[in-house]
């Protein structure tokens, strides 16, 4: 599903170049899930950005779903994100003007893969049936994140990237949201790469990747 070979990434800063990723290599098989662990500033988000094509690596190979991305143009990345990928962020990023229903369906519609039955199923699983007509600002944080999860899965992505998805939630709701996320991802047969600070959450996933000094140590 995902294959990274010798990926380098640095940022130019006032006090010199920061080598964030320094010859990082790893891979993730289809349907597998991995937790990305590491200190703050270690480059976790940066890695996710590279995989999503939001930023580009200095060097190294990123192969996604069997396709080498080195020749990807902006439009290819956009297509990749639309069709194969989902991003989940700490701050949900729902479209504030759209109802819950429209937010849920948004990415699937963009990808042209809206499936009514799957939609009903997800709505039921996420417990959003009563909230469909609401606007995002009328929801709690946990509810909003559930909508974001639904939106991320409805178009049946091959890979879900989540950056501290429960960072804004209290412990109880974050555990509930996490459980739902891993379960649904597994159901959908997608791969999952999730940044988290919580070892407890990491324990739910198949693999644990520790990012230190720009490289990964993988633990089963």
């Amino acid at each position: 599903m995902l294959e990274l070979t010798d990926v380098h990434k640095h940022f130019q800063q006032a006090d010199g170049a920061v080598r964030v990723l320094d010859g990082l290599s790893t891979s993730l098989a289809p349907g597998r899930s991995a937790a990305l662990l590491g200190e703050s500033g270690s480059g976790k988000s940066t890695l996710l950005h590279l995989i999503a094509g939001l930023d580009s690596a200095d060097s190294g190979r990123i192969v996604l779903d069997g396709t080498d991305t080195s020749a990807f143009k902006d439009a290819d990345w956009a297509a990749w994100r639309r069709d194969k990928l989902s991003l989940i962020f700490q701050n949900y990023h729902l479209v504030p003007t759209l109802t819950v229903a429209d937010n849920l369906a948004l990415q699937a519609r963009l990808a042209g893969r809206f499936d009514g039955d799957f939609y009903d199923h997800l709505v039921a699983r996420l417990g959003l049936s009563d909230l469909l007509k609401r606007l995002p600002h009328q929801l709690s944080g946990g509810q909003q994140q559930r909508v974001a999860i639904g939106r991320a899965l409805l178009h049946r992505p091959a890979l879900v990237l989540a950056d501290e998805p429960t960072g804004n939630l209290d412990e109880r709701s974050s555990a509930a949201v996490m459980a739902l996320l891993t379960e649904l991802v597994r159901e959908a047969g997608a791969s999952l790469l999730m940044v988290t600070h919580s070892p407890a959450m990491a324990a739910h996933l198949d693999e644990r990747w520790q990012l230190t000094n720009g490289r990964l140590e993988t633990a089963a």
Binding site: H49, D55, R82, Q90, P96, D163
Partner: protein, 827 residues
């Protein structure tokens, strides 16, 4: 205290640092201020300048002109009479020759005097230091004010060829006080070059009342002493024109203020975190308010300076056409050297400051009301926008009610403009509610599967709070454009029709001393079908200069007089009944006289009463005018002079040529007569020039609204850039993005344009049916025309397209960075 000041300075500097990092915003704030103040001050400068000129109307070329000496028969002054009066000790008299010339049908005024005879305080040639021998000796000189020379492409030494074939003496770029946009020549030179042997009149400098009496007694019978009341009359007659201009400039100012409002609010909005931090760091909210007010002070000072500079430049551009209109319509001499007074500068600064404070007051107050925590969390304000819209609408309705109430009892031009302003702003304030309701309606009509369209429509709600003010500005600009275009269009077509009816004859003799008998055989000639000799005298009636005209009531053009209204006694008037008169409609609208009313006027035989049989249209005239039978005028005003001889020519192909040869043979000069087409052409040209400033102001106002829109869009996109990055992360294509962002905007603009249609119609109806009547006493049918509306729609679409393109380009440029920062924006 010192500590407080230093904290305040620090706070102010912190706040101001924002503008260095947000150049585009700074630019828009400056543009808004400069254009608003600039447009307003340009008109104020022009008005002030014109009024200053009127107050000099009792001056002629730097000399006092408290009276005129004129010939009773309109024939001008014989130089021998003038010399006799000078030798009799009347050294305050000076000869003036004033005449209208034509160059390529363009009217051009010439004034000539004897500088040595002018009773001026300074030395004969004044400070202008001209070259006296060249001025008075062949080949002479013509002195051109520089701007007029530039208009005609004349340089020093050039000679101008008149339409009658005469050549003016070589040019010098020189001017005399109160020369205005006129040519100046020595009177001896003018007599020679124009082949005249009479002066137009004599100017009379300051005279004691004893000397006035002595002069009155000393004048030969054919001359009379006339008071110069120009100063009063001009101020009164042109008041309406100047209120028109002021109203337009205030509108432009308001539209400029909308940009400022938006920019200031946005700048404040973006700095909310800074403000909160400062508050958290211990700056009191009062200190923050003071700092923001100081910031407003800085901006207002900068805006005023920039605006006045822009206004001055604009005034310099707009003044020549205004000056020449004032000259054509009112005979007002307005020079083109612009002065900017302190009072004006302070006023400009004052209103800018008030405008800025208005823009700042509400958000500041709201900010100060909230405690720190509340303020931090109130981030999604688009939902709160509904509340704001309602308040605005409520306020708008109040304005509308006020406008309605005032309209029912409106009687002056100023009140008219207040009604107009209230209506416009009422509409502008109600606009957001109209936009919201229309959006909701359209949304409801969209089918479920059209999810992109629905998204786009939903996105309108996110845009609305940001572009609301820009839409209001656009509404004002569009409405004003439509309203004024309709007024101008209606007026122009009314004028064209009126000119066609009014100028029925083929030739009009300009030289009032030419008599029909002088160039025909007792009024008969093979080329002549009919003629109409009128006479006239100017009196004062009802506080205004009033023209009494004697007509042959059976002449073809009297029969076809374009009447606004008449009663059954019109026939009596045609029959020459002495009891009935026709009055111009100004008499009806400005003096409140009704059909059948008795009007009493002063005649040489004492006051005499007439009854009104009808009102005729008399466009362009600021005076009252009464039409009586020729013989009646001759009898009641023995000093009435013949003026205006109209000739109808036969169908013979060479009739005009024959007429001209007959005139030339009788000693007339080319230019002493005009044919119908020339008069029409010149009249329409004067009309167009008069409204040139209107069109210019309107165009500028629209572009200011365009700038407001662009500013709002750029700000909006900057604010929403992180949203766009998320959309992009969801896989949204640029096409889709453009659809989602542009469609609602286009819809909002279209809805605003739609609202501008009825409002423009309302405005034009106010202008045509109320304001114009109160201001000038002219009525005309309102003619709604679609082409201007379509033109405006196209123009607006182009402006919208352009602003969208610019903002699209901005977003594309910035999006990659936003994408890289995705997920971090609110950490």
């Amino acid at each position: 205290m010192r500590r407080l000041l230093s904290v305040l300075t620090r706070v102010l500097l912190t706040l101001l640092s924002h503008y260095r990092r947000h150049i585009a915003q700074t630019l828009f704030l400056a543009i808004g201020l400069v254009t608003g103040v600039g447009l307003w001050s340009a008109v104020q400068i022009i008005n002030d300048h014109a009024r200053a000129s009127y107050s000099e109307a009792d001056q002629l070329l730097g000399a006092q002109a408290s009276h005129w000496v004129r010939a009773r028969d309109g024939a001008g002054i014989d130089p021998a009479d003038y010399i006799a009066l000078r030798r009799d000790g009347f050294t305050q008299l000076y000869p003036i020759l004033e005449t209208r010339l034509a160059v390529n049908d363009e009217p051009l005024w010439l004034i000539a005097t004897d500088l040595l005879a002018l009773p001026r305080s300074e030395s004969p040639l004044g400070a202008s230091g001209g070259d006296w021998p060249s001025l008075v000796q062949p080949p002479y000189q013509t002195w051109y004010p520089p701007d007029l020379a530039a208009d005609f492409g004349i340089g020093p030494g050039d000679t101008l060829m008149l339409d009658d074939g005469r050549q003016l003496p070589p040019a010098a770029l020189q001017q005399q006080p109160q020369q205005g946009r006129r040519l100046f020549m020595d009177i001896g030179a003018a007599l020679a070059v124009l082949q005249r042997d009479h002066f137009s009149y004599l100017g009379v400098g300051e005279l004691s009342s004893a000397e006035t009496d002595r002069l009155r007694r000393a004048l030969p019978n054919h001359l009379q002493l006339v008071d110069n009341r120009q100063r009063l009359d001009l101020t009164q007659l042109t008041a309406s024109l100047h209120s028109h201009l002021t109203a337009m400039s205030l509108l432009a100012f308001a539209v400029g203020l909308f940009i400022v409002f938006n920019a200031v609010r946005f700048a404040l909005h973006l700095r909310r975190p800074t403000l909160h931090t400062l508050r958290e760091l211990g700056a009191s909210s009062r200190m923050l308010s003071v700092a923001v007010l100081l910031e407003a002070l800085v901006w207002s000072a900068l805006g005023t300076l920039g605006g006045l500079a822009a206004g001055r430049a604009l005034a310099t551009l707009l003044l020549p056409p205004v000056a020449s209109s004032l000259q054509s319509l009112y005979g007002a001499v307005v020079g083109t050297d612009i002065q900017l007074g302190w009072a004006r500068i302070l006023l400009a600064w004052g209103i800018t400051l008030v405008g800025l404070l208005l823009a700042l007051a509400w958000p500041l107050w709201r900010e100060a009301q909230q405690n720190i925590r509340q303020a931090r969390s109130a981030s999604d304000d688009w939902a709160a926008d509904r509340q704001a819209r309602r308040w605005l609408a409520l306020f708008g309705l109040l304005l509308a009610v006020a406008a309605l109430m005032l309209h029912s009892r409106m009687s002056t031009v100023t009140q008219g403009f207040v009604v107009l302003g209230l209506s416009l702003f009422a509409a502008a304030f109600v606009l957001p509610v109209w936009l919201a309701s229309a959006l909701r309606l359209v949304e409801r009509c969209l089918p479920e599967p059209a999810w992109k369209l629905r998204w786009a429509l939903r996105d309108a709600w996110a845009q609305l709070p940001q572009v609301r003010v820009a839409m209001m500005a656009l509404l004002l600009a569009l409405t004003a454009n439509l309203g004024v275009e309709t007024l101008v269009g209606s007026f122009r077509s009314a004028l064209t029709i009126w000119l066609d009816q009014r100028l029925a004859a083929d030739l009009y003799i300009q030289d009032d001393s030419l008599r029909l008998a002088a160039f025909t055989d007792h009024g008969a000639a093979p080329w002549l079908v009919a003629s109409h000799q009128r006479n006239g005298v100017q009196i004062r009636w009802s506080g205004r200069p009033t023209l009494i005209r004697g007509l042959n009531t059976n002449a073809p053009d009297s029969r076809a007089l374009p009447l606004a209204d008449a009663n059954e006694h019109l026939q009596d008037w045609f029959d020459g009944d002495n009891d009935w008169v026709l009055a111009n409609e100004q008499v009806h609208h400005l003096a409140g006289v009704e059909l059948g009313d008795r009007v009493q006027v002063d005649t040489a035989q004492g006051p005499q009463a007439f009854r009104i049989a009808g009102f005729f249209h008399d466009y362009g005239s600021p005076y009252f005018q009464l039409y009586l039978p020729y013989a009646t005028v001759e009898r009641l005003w023995p000093n009435a002079s013949p003026e205006g001889l109209a000739l109808w020519l036969s169908d013979a192909p060479d009739a005009e040529q024959q007429a001209e040869s007959a005139l030339l043979a009788a000693g007339a000069q080319p230019g002493d007569w005009l044919n119908q087409n020339t008069i029409k052409r010149v009249s329409l040209r004067i009309f167009d020039r008069t409204f040139a400033i209107t069109t210019a102001m309107n165009g500028l106002t629209l572009s200011v609204a365009g700038i407001a829109l662009l500013a709002a869009l750029l700000a909006l996109h900057q604010q929403r850039l992180s949203h766009y990055a998320h959309w992009r992360a969801l896989g949204v294509r640029y096409r889709e993005w453009l659809l989602i962002v542009a469609l609602p905007l286009a819809l909002l603009v279209a809805l605003t344009g739609l609202a501008a249609l009825p409002l423009g119609a309302l405005l034009s109806s106010l202008l045509v049916h109320d304001l114009n009547v109160h201001a000038f006493g002219w009525t005309m049918p309102l003619q709604w025309q679609w082409p201007p509306a379509l033109r405006l729609a196209a123009l607006t679409a182009a402006v919208l397209g352009l602003t969208l393109l610019i903002s699209l380009w901005q977003v594309r440029r910035r999006l990659p960075l936003a994408l890289k920062q995705l997920g971090e924006d609110d950490a």
